[in-house]
Structure formats: structure tokens, C-alpha cells
């Protein structure tokens, strides 16, 4: 009984900001995936109850397969409705991708035929 009450209190404290505790990510490097598919990397400075964020030293991370190019975009406020997810990064640069220039990246993107959107399917055996 006592333990239950303690668990309950812990849950309430963790939920206090309204947004599933982004407080752990404050002043850390985060990667935002936006609804239009763009990815933004920056330092999380602030957030509100809807999940809008202020990001410092932002770059837009343009990617093509395992190549990326960071374009500096400065200090950004991103409105909550555009944010799909916020991932925490340990390093601002990806370990598994090669950095190239913006021109080279755009050439690569232009060279590859744009494929149509992938329809996802339920995998019925997933949990087996």
C-alpha cells in the first residue's frame, strides 16, 4: 500500500510539466523530425506544455542514404504541431554517415528517381 502511494507520487512528479518530461533533454543536443520529413539538430533550450521547443545553434540535416549535409539555420522556435519526434543525440555528428557538401547532396538527390510513399503493413508474427 505504502509502496503504491510512493509509485503514484513519482508518476505525478514526472508528469508535472504536462509534456512527458522533456526536462531530461534540456541543454542536450536533440534531433527533431518534422512532419514534412525535415530533420533539425540543435540544443534544446526550452519547451512548453504542447511540446513546442526553442532550439539553439540549429542545423537542418539534409540526408540522402548515408550522406548528410548540415545547413546552419540559427536559433529556432518550432511549433509543436510540426514535430513528429524528438530524439536525444550523444554527439551532434552522426557516427554512421558521411558528410558531404550541399551541392553534391543535391546532385545525388536529383540523380535518384523519387520513389512513391511506402505503405506499411502490419506484421502479424511480430510478437511471436
Amino acid at each position: 500500500m505504502n509502496r503504491d502511494r510512493e509509485t503514484q507520487r513519482t508518476l505525478e512528479v514526472n508528469d508535472a510539466p504536462g509534456t512527458a518530461s522533456l526536462v531530461d533533454q534540456l541543454d542536450r543536443v536533440v534531433l527533431l523530425v518534422l512532419f514534412d520529413g525535415r530533420t533539425i539538430v540543435g540544443i534544446l533550450r526550452s519547451y512548453d506544455q504542447y511540446g513546442s521547443v526553442f532550439l539553439d545553434q540549429c542545423v537542418e540535416r539534409k540526408t540522402h542514404n548515408t550522406f548528410y549535409c548540415d545547413v546552419a539555420v540559427g536559433f529556432l522556435m518550432v511549433r509543436a504541431e510540426n514535430i513528429v519526434l524528438i530524439g536525444e543525440l550523444k554527439e551532434p555528428t552522426p557516427s554512421n554517415m558521411a558528410r558531404i557538401g550541399l551541392g553534391a547532396l543535391k546532385e545525388m538527390q536529383a540523380a535518384e528517381q523519387v520513389t512513391t510513399t511506402r505503405a506499411t503493413e502490419f506484421d502479424s508474427g511480430f510478437w511471436d
Binding site: G18, S21, L31, F35, G51, V84, G87, K90, N96
Partner: protein, 92 residues
């Protein structure tokens, strides 16, 4: 009500499909009243999203979630049914 269901799932592995067709599998570490999730130990398709390879903890906005799939024994369907009925009785 769904919030309390997901609170009981904290520490369990779920699979979340987002409205941009991305599928994320991870362990729930917290959830709030908007059904925003924080997942740890996440895994995604590395070929489709190579830029997420270094991400292990993530925050997913509730409004961007399409489905959440979980193991059948994580929730008790009979209990859920009863809870839904109780909720209606409480409202009236």
C-alpha cells in the same frame, strides 16, 4: 483512461507507427495526458532512417501516433471492457 492503461505499460516494449509511416519499437519510459511517449532503447529501420541510428531515447508527440501495437498479454481485454463501461456509468 487510456493514460492509466499506458502507465501500466511503462517498462514494456511497444511498437509505434507514426503518421509519417515511420515505425519505432522501444521501451516506454513515460507517458502524459496527451499520450505523448518517451521511449528508450528504440530501434527503427536503419536503412530508411540512418540519421536515427545514434538516437536511443526519444520523445514522440501523441498527435503523430497512428497505431500502437503491443503484446497481447500486456493488457487484459476483459478489464478494459469493464473499465469502459464503468467510465460511461460515471458520466451518467
Amino acid at each position: 483512461m487510456f493514460l492509466s492503461v499506458f502507465k501500466t505499460l511503462i517498462g514494456k516494449v511497444i511498437s509505434v507507427e507514426l503518421k509519417n509511416d515511420m515505425v519505432v519499437v522501444g521501451t516506454i519510459s513515460s507517458v502524459d495526458q496527451f499520450l505523448n511517449f518517451k521511449l528508450t532503447n528504440i530501434s527503427v529501420d536503419d536503412e530508411l532512417y540512418p540519421y536515427l541510428a545514434d538516437v536511443s531515447d526519444m520523445f514522440i508527440r501523441g498527435s503523430m501516433v497512428r497505431f500502437i501495437s503491443m503484446k497481447k498479454d500486456y493488457v487484459d481485454p476483459v478489464f478494459l471492457q469493464d473499465a469502459a463501461r464503468r467510465e460511461i456509468l460515471d458520466v451518467n
